[in-house]
């Protein structure tokens, strides 16, 4: 295969992984929702919490949409196989994100039909299910799914569908794989950790800060238990390797461990990421005045997730293993767009730094002014 093509497939896997990593970081919005009633003990506090992480919900949402779009453009066979097959998982994810999209805007408005509490419960549902389901779905990148890809089917007039799912659960079966569930729970508790760190940074309220610091320790312990169990198993579990010459996929013991060892840069990114997360959390717990934990833990989260996703797709690994037919497994090479499309999209990707720059600029412009109870009382636009 053309070297440029191989390079672009790796480049696009990097971009999709980066979007996925940013998405996991931005799930702090979901974390904030799930903590709404844990941290917020009265209406004013809840309002401050909602207006803190809530004002970033559109970034999380947009990142999810862009992650989908970029995956579609660069690896369309995943889009068609996974979304059309693991139907119920994706539909559930969509439904809980629909609830989020309307709830912030509607919950505090007059005439909202279902009442404030209902919309806040919607936010809690999205705050719990969103991270758990997304985490479990990403778990299938390592633990596989039950599908068959047969392109020849297109010429069968009675039944021309190329990708088919082999369980009638259509994706729900992923919930019965403990390792997927562990990753889902790890992502969930991580999102809560990040939310607490963001509250500490963003809300000028002593009581909320105090409570957040207290809660942080519990959430961190739970996160570490689930994440480390998943991670240790990941290093010793069997992975699906693809032979770059013959494109034949085969099972290899400790594939992901080998991937980290064979890609020292990715390993370094992982280690820096983990240190960032632990430093951000640790210093926040130890110091009563330090508020910058979110930036260390946030950057660390992005790097850690990036390294994990690169480990799933690079180094001749099948990033979406098929448990029904090993040779149907998706790799960045057999599922990617054409050279032309990847190249065209690579030109578009030059705009990404510009997009990141204006996001950072606008974010900072708003976050210089911290959330206060005074702002909540003023008759301005608030959630």
């Amino acid at each position: 295969m053309d070297a440029t093509y191989i390079f672009l497939q790796h480049y696009w896997w990097l971009l999709v992984s980066l979007l996925g990593a940013l998405l996991v970081f931005l799930l702090f919005v979901q974390g904030g929702q799930s903590l709404l009633f844990t941290i917020g003990k009265n209406q004013t506090q809840q309002k401050m919490l909602l207006n803190s992480t809530g004002r970033k919900w559109e970034f999380t949402f947009t990142t999810l949409v862009t992650f989908g779009g970029a995956f579609f453009a660069s690896f369309p066979l995943f889009y068609s196989t996974s979304f059309g097959g693991a139907y119920w998982v994706w539909i559930l994810i969509l439904l809980c994100f629909v609830l989020q999209a309307v709830s912030y805007e509607y919950q505090a408005k007059h005439g909202n039909l279902l009442g404030k509490k209902t919309y806040q419960i919607f936010l809690v549902i999205n705050g719990i299910l969103g991270p758990v389901l997304l985490g479990a779905a990403v778990g299938t990148f390592f633990n596989g799914a039950n599908f068959i890809v047969e392109k020849q089917n297109l010429t069968d007039l009675a039944n021309p569908v190329i990708s088919s799912w082999k369980t009638s659960w259509h994706g729900l079966e992923a919930a019965f794989v403990i390792w997927n569930v562990l990753l889902g729970l790890a992502v969930f508790f991580l999102s809560r950790v990040l939310a607490l760190l963001y509250f500490i940074n963003n809300i000028n309220d002593d009581e909320i800060r105090k409570k957040s610091r207290k809660q942080l320790l519990i959430e961190t312990v739970l996160f570490l238990v689930f994440f480390l169990t998943f991670f240790v198993h990941l290093l010793i579990q069997e992975g699906f390797a693809v032979d770059p010459q013959t494109s034949i996929v085969s099972k290899v013991p400790c594939k992901y461990l080998h991937n980290f060892l064979q890609m020292p840069v990715v390993l370094a990114v992982l280690l820096v990421g983990v240190v960032g997360v632990l430093f951000g959390i640790g210093k926040t717990i130890l110091s009563q005045t330090w508020k910058k934990g979110i930036w260390f833990a946030g950057t660390g989260t992005v790097l850690t997730v990036l390294a994990l996703l690169l480990c799933a797709g690079w180094n001749n690994t099948a990033y979406y293993p098929s448990l029904s037919d090993t040779q149907s497994s998706l790799t960045i090479s057999n599922s990617s767009s054409s050279l032309f499309t990847l190249k065209t999209m690579a030109y578009v990707s030059i705009l990404i730094p510009l997009v990141l720059a204006y996001i950072v600029y606008a974010w900072r412009a708003l976050d210089i002014h911290k959330i206060t109870s005074k702002e909540m009382e003023e008759n301005e636009h608030t959630y």
Partner: protein
């Protein structure tokens, strides 16, 4: 597992997509139109420093925000439904179709998401100039996102800039510019965005009229109306122009859609445009002898359809029957094939693809086998040479084996070349291969026909309304014309209805195609059970309906509360 794709699965998958698109299009046009109106108002505030305009802009932004959230929610579902319900489609054209969706995310959605936060929460946090820029960038982002998704939709109506690759079994992009700037896409973008502007303008004029009817917020209402009606008038005039462009694109690329829009069974030179009409319900088949209409009145300008479609009054416009039976001369001079011929050629293309794939698989398998057999044979021959003293016997034996291999290899190669040629020659009709009979190529006629009339007639009415409202508004007579205020209020619904009707024409009118001529909806779907799709259809229906009712209640409550501007 399903042995054969069930018709009801196709219908439910289509229904689910249509439902989501219908709801999405209730909210998005208002975002597009209202976004411009509020940005203009804030610009007036920025220029004059008059607090009145700031409060006016803020009130419309509040309504914008209520409407925006649910548009975003339905949009997310639409994007993912390409994968969940149209899996084959996603692979077959994902190489082309995915790109605009990704660009939409990177270029447009982030712009929208970033600056909408500044627009809503930044009034006291950023400078006046930065805030104004954010308001404009929010609507610019929304409009750019409309561009890319309409590029994607335009490509489905008129696939261009791609080639079919039988090795990957999909279409692959060959020219990005041909896709991004296809005349169909550009036209569709302007026509669609303008329809959003009309709805936004009508919304502002209608809600303001309600205040006038209630005799409250008079200054606010009259000022808002002045901005909205001019904007609406400009949008209406431009949309007539783009609508005309759209009709001629349809005539060129989707003649069946045009015939359905007009209820035209028998084509002719110099065809009139139907003004209003009632289709004959007893006409069951395209080739029976029943009349097409119970009643119809043509637009009084003769031969208008021919002119609108092709720019010449005497040009031939084919009807449904002609398109299915073929034999007429097309605008490019070629003689049209009949539906049966197209179906036959489509089947040839699909067969050729099948042959090609088999030959390729044989070739790989054979190369492997031949290698291993040759090794065995070479050893055999060596043994043979040792036992038989006659060397020539062994040599001739070896030659025969090689010849045998080269013969088989050549046979497979010929198969590959021939099937590839057969595929390329017939690929333009690939999708027809999945069509069972010619009449399946006719879109739902009455829906297309009536939706087209609704769109055009309401569009014309709105143009007159905006013209009149502009005149009276700038003559300072709007305040006293209660009938006009009522008309404006009711017309909010008419504008939304016209926009929906437009999408019905575009999408129902192109059935059975997911991608014109290349892939029918029946071959585009995901392999799911019908009951799963039914279940999600009803979940979405219930959810969207509840959220719509909630949205309307919040909107009306916010409107009743009003902008709360001290007008003294």
């Amino acid at each position: 597992m399903i042995a054969e794709i069930d018709i009801s699965l196709i219908d439910w998958s289509r229904a689910q997509f249509a439902l989501t698109a219908f709801y999405h299009w209730l909210f998005v046009p208002l975002t597009l139109g209202l976004g411009i109106v509020q940005a203009v108002m804030e610009t007036i505030y920025y220029k004059t420093g008059d607090e009145f305009w700031k409060k006016t802009a803020k009130f419309w932004m509040k309504l914008f925000g209520i409407n925006f959230a649910i548009g975003v929610a339905t949009g997310l579902i639409l994007e993912f439904e390409f994968g969940t319900n149209w899996s084959n489609y996603s692979w077959f054209v994902g190489d082309i179709f995915g790109a605009p969706l990704a660009i939409e995310g990177v270029v447009a959605f982030f712009m929208e998401a970033t600056f909408i936060a500044v627009m809503f929460f930044g009034w006291n946090k950023v400078s006046k100039g930065f805030h104004l820029a954010s308001t404009w960038l929010t609507i610019l982002g929304a409009t750019i996102s409309a561009f890319w998704i309409l590029v994607a939709n335009g490509w489905m109506q008129y696939p261009t800039g791609m080639g079919f690759n039988p090795d990957t079994v999909r279409n692959e992009m060959e020219s990005f510019w041909a896709v991004a700037f296809s005349p169909v896409a550009i036209n569709k973008f302007f026509h669609t965005v303008l329809s959003g502007w009309i709805i936004g303008a009508m919304f502002v004029a209608g809600i303001s009229s309600w205040y006038l009817l209630r005799k409250r917020e008079i200054k606010f209402a009259l000022s808002s109306i002045k901005v909205a009606v001019v904007f609406g008038l400009i949008a209406c005039l431009l949309s007539i122009w783009t609508g005309d462009g759209s009709a001629s694109q349809v005539a060129k690329r989707q003649p069946m859609k045009l015939a359905a829009m007009e209820g035209l069974y028998e084509g002719d030179n110099g065809v009139n445009l139907v003004g209003i009409g009632i289709l004959n319900p007893s006409k069951k088949e395209y080739n029976d002898n029943e009349k097409a209409f119970l009643f119809k009145i043509d637009v009084p300008i003769p031969k208008l359809l021919s002119y609108l479609a092709f720019g010449k009054f005497n040009e031939y416009v084919p009807g449904i029957k002609n398109i299915l039976e073929g034999g007429y001369k097309q605008p490019d001079g070629a003689i049209a094939l009949s539906a049966e011929e197209k179906i036959a050629r489509g089947k040839l293309a699909i067969d050729a693809l099948s042959e090609y794939k088999k030959a390729k698989a044989d070739s790989a398998l054979y190369a492997n086998k031949a290698d291993s057999i040759k090794i065995v044979l070479a050893a055999e021959i060596e043994n043979y040479a040792e036992t038989v003293s006659d060397d020539t016997g062994a040599t001739s034996q070896a030659l025969t084996a090689d010849e045998l291999f080269s013969g088989k290899t050549a046979e497979i190669q010929t198969k590959i070349v021939n099937s590839r040629k057969q595929l390329d020659d017939n690929f333009d009709y690939f999708g027809y291969g999945y069509i069972k009979e010619p009449k399946d190529l006719i879109p739902p006629l009455s829906l297309t026909f009536y939706a087209f009339r609704v769109m055009v007639i309401l569009g014309g009415f709105l143009l007159l309304l905006f013209a009149l409202a502009t005149y009276l508004s700038y003559k300072n007579k709007f305040e006293t014309k209660r009938w006009l205020q009522w008309t404006c209020l009711i017309s909010i619904f008419l504008a939304i209805f016209a926009g929906q009707a437009g999408w019905v024409v575009a999408e129902v009118g192109r059935q059975p195609w997911a991608i014109q001529d290349i892939l029918p909806t029946s071959a585009a779907i995901s392999k799911l059970s019908t009951s799963s799709v039914q279940l999600t259809f009803f979940i979405f229906l219930a959810l969207f309906t509840i959220l719509l009712i909630a949205e309307l209640k919040i909107l009306t409550s916010a409107i009743k509360k009003g902008p709360q501007i001290n007008e003294q």
